[in-house]
């Protein structure tokens, strides 16, 4: 599952810079609460992605003046996302074919 969370995190960051909690909320909403991962496990994923240079963090102050850590996707992250997305589509269409979920009439 860690791989798919990585993919979803990169997808979210592709659209806008976000902080950890915001990502959790977005993931919950977009997956219609199918995904509710243990929230703490998001941070090792984010920090790992940052160390690999796929995303970058920066501090920005909240309205209350507290520093908040935001993440932004990098070019390497965008490329990685594209590759993984293709892999995922290939995989899910293969699964669908096996399960017979999609059939095209001749």
């Amino acid at each position: 599952m860690a791989g798919s969370t990585t993919l979803m995190v990169l997808k979210l960051l592709e659209q806008s810079d976000m902080y950890g909690y915001q990502m959790i909320k977005e993931l919950e909403e977009r997956s219609e609460r199918v995904f509710s991962l243990k929230e703490g496990t998001l941070y090792p994923i984010l920090h790992g992605l940052e160390k690999e240079g796929l995303i970058k963090s920066y501090a920005s102050k909240t309205d209350q003046g507290r520093p908040r850590k935001y993440y932004a996707i990098q070019d390497r992250g965008r490329r990685h996302l594209q590759e993984k997305k293709q892999e995922w589509q290939l995989f899910s269409s293969a699964v669908n074919k096996v399960l017979g979920g999609v059939r095209y009439a001749d």
Partner: protein
């Protein structure tokens, strides 16, 4: 049930790299606070809200263990190995110059030199573990310490080659205070840039003033090589700071101002105080036979004539090694070319090139402003010394001005270069983990045209406004 704090403590306890702990703790704290607030809004009481928020996070030990695997200081072997290699080459140079009789005393120093290398290693490691970012908070203390060392040396030092130095007991070597002062000035300078960068032109003028004062101190000692290296480092730092819009000024007029005044002052100093330097520098641009060649350059040329791919040059084989004036450590590259051959020289250049390239790449990738300035200073300091020592060693500068970092044997230089490397590695170790002050350059320009009036904004009003 766990509270918010006990959860965070439990996570960060798993992370062995202590510097990373506060960053992780702050991020988790922010997360838990928002989650708790959401539960409060849903009508839970504060204790329930906090407990539920913590429960959403999962197992703290598991999270902590995963984070520990990520937050580990890397051993920067691409930086460390070239330094070790250059040190070994330095020992070989020492051995060679002793073997060919260039420096009969060299073998006597060999044991001492190994001690210097060990001391350098300990120093570099100590500085690597030190939080360099504390230095930027005390620019004035550093700025006063640097000349204080020189003055103390003038009062209590031992005369050596026309200057006063500190002779260590048991003939352990000499400490050249100007090289140390130069490093301290460079450390102070970074603090000044970070301190004055939001003051537009006034800040820039203040920096100009402290630069001029520090360079005058080095000139008075006198140390032309330290002055040159310090000036080069200052210029690189200031240029990059202006380019990165750290000062809210129009960039090009600023460059004209900064470079114009430096060239003017330096030219005047050279002409009035040390006209012979100009002749030497002239040799750089007129290397033909009609240029004035001094004794050193002539010897270097003779030593290098007939140098072979491997082994000693034919000149050395037939005539022996002519003694170079001054300290042999400053002619490390000459010795390498003349005794080991030009292939060894190319290898040394490649190692240096690789080392500087790695330093450059690492510097560009840094996040923190203070870290970037520190890394850039150390990169410039070492890079300038490598270039000057390579050019000097081939006779192109008409004499040697500085030793080659890590290669040249000499207590002060080795320790200072190891300290520089320690500072650089310390920046790499802590980058992204240290709290950084938010800095946004004020969006104003020095010269503005409004309603047909030329407005010169020195940033004074803004400074008063922000401090109130």
């Amino acid at each position: 049930m766990q509270t918010r704090n006990s959860f965070i403590q439990c996570v960060v306890c798993q992370i062995r790299f202590k510097i990373a702990r506060s960053v992780v703790a702050n991020e988790l704290e922010d997360h838990l606070e928002q989650r708790t607030r959401e539960f409060l809004e849903q009508g839970l009481n504060p204790q329930e809200a906090e407990e539920k928020a913590v429960a959403c996070m999962g197992d703290p030990v598991e999270v902590g263990i995963s984070l520990n695997k990520i937050h580990r200081p890397k051993a920067e072997w691409t930086i460390i190995l070239p330094v070790l290699l250059l040190t070994v080459i330095g020992l070989a140079v020492l051995f060679m110059s002793s073997a060919i009789g260039a420096d009969n005393a060299a073998s006597r120093y060999l044991a001492k030199d190994i001690l210097v290398i060990l001391a350098g290693g300990v120093l570099a490691y100590g500085i690597y573990r030190y939080d360099y970012s504390r230095l930027k908070n005390h620019p004035w203390a550093l700025f006063i310490a640097a000349p204080a060392i020189l003055i103390a040396m003038q009062l209590f030092g031992t005369p050596y080659n026309g200057v006063k130095v500190m002779a260590l007991p048991f003939e352990a070597g000499i400490l050249k205070p100007d090289h140390l002062s130069s490093l301290i000035f460079i450390l102070a300078y970074q603090g000044f840039i970070l301190k004055y960068r939001n003051q537009s032109l006034v800040g820039l003028l203040k920096i100009g003033l402290v630069s001029a004062l520090s360079l005058m101190v080095l000139m008075a000692y006198p140390s032309f090589s330290s002055l040159l290296i310090t000036l080069m480092t200052y210029m690189v730092l200031l240029t990059v700071a202006i380019l990165k819009r750290q000062f809210s000024v129009r960039r090009w007029p600023c460059f004209v101002l900064v470079y114009g005044s430096v060239i003017l002052v330096l030219g005047m100093m050279l002409m009035t105080l040390a006209p012979y330097r100009l002749e030497r520098l002239g040799g750089l641009f007129r290397p033909s036979s009609d240029s004035p060649r001094n004794y050193t350059a002539a010897i270097i040329e003779r030593l290098l004539s007939g140098s072979k791919p491997f082994g000693a040059s034919t000149f050395i084989s037939s005539d022996g090694f002519s003694t170079l004036p001054g300290s042999h450590s400053e002619f490390a590259f000459t010795t390498i070319l003349a005794t080991m051959g030009w292939v060894a020289g190319i290898v040394v250049c490649l190692v240096i090139g690789f080392f500087l390239l790695r330093m450059g790449i690492k510097t560009v990738g840094l996040k923190s402003d203070a870290g970037f300035l520190m890394a850039l200073s150390m990169f410039t300091l070492l890079g300038a010394k490598f270039i000057v020592s390579l050019l000097g060693g081939t006779g192109m500068l008409g004499g040697a001005l500085t030793g080659m970092p890590f290669v040249s044997y000499g207590l002060t230089d080795y320790l200072i270069h190891m300290a520089a490397m320690g500072l650089f590695l310390s920046v790499l170790r802590t980058d992204g983990y240290l709290a950084e002050e938010d800095f946004k350059p004020a969006a104003s320009e020095l010269f503005k045209l409004e309603d047909g009036k030329l407005i010169i904004d020195l940033g004074l009003g803004r400074r008063k406004g922000s401090s109130s």
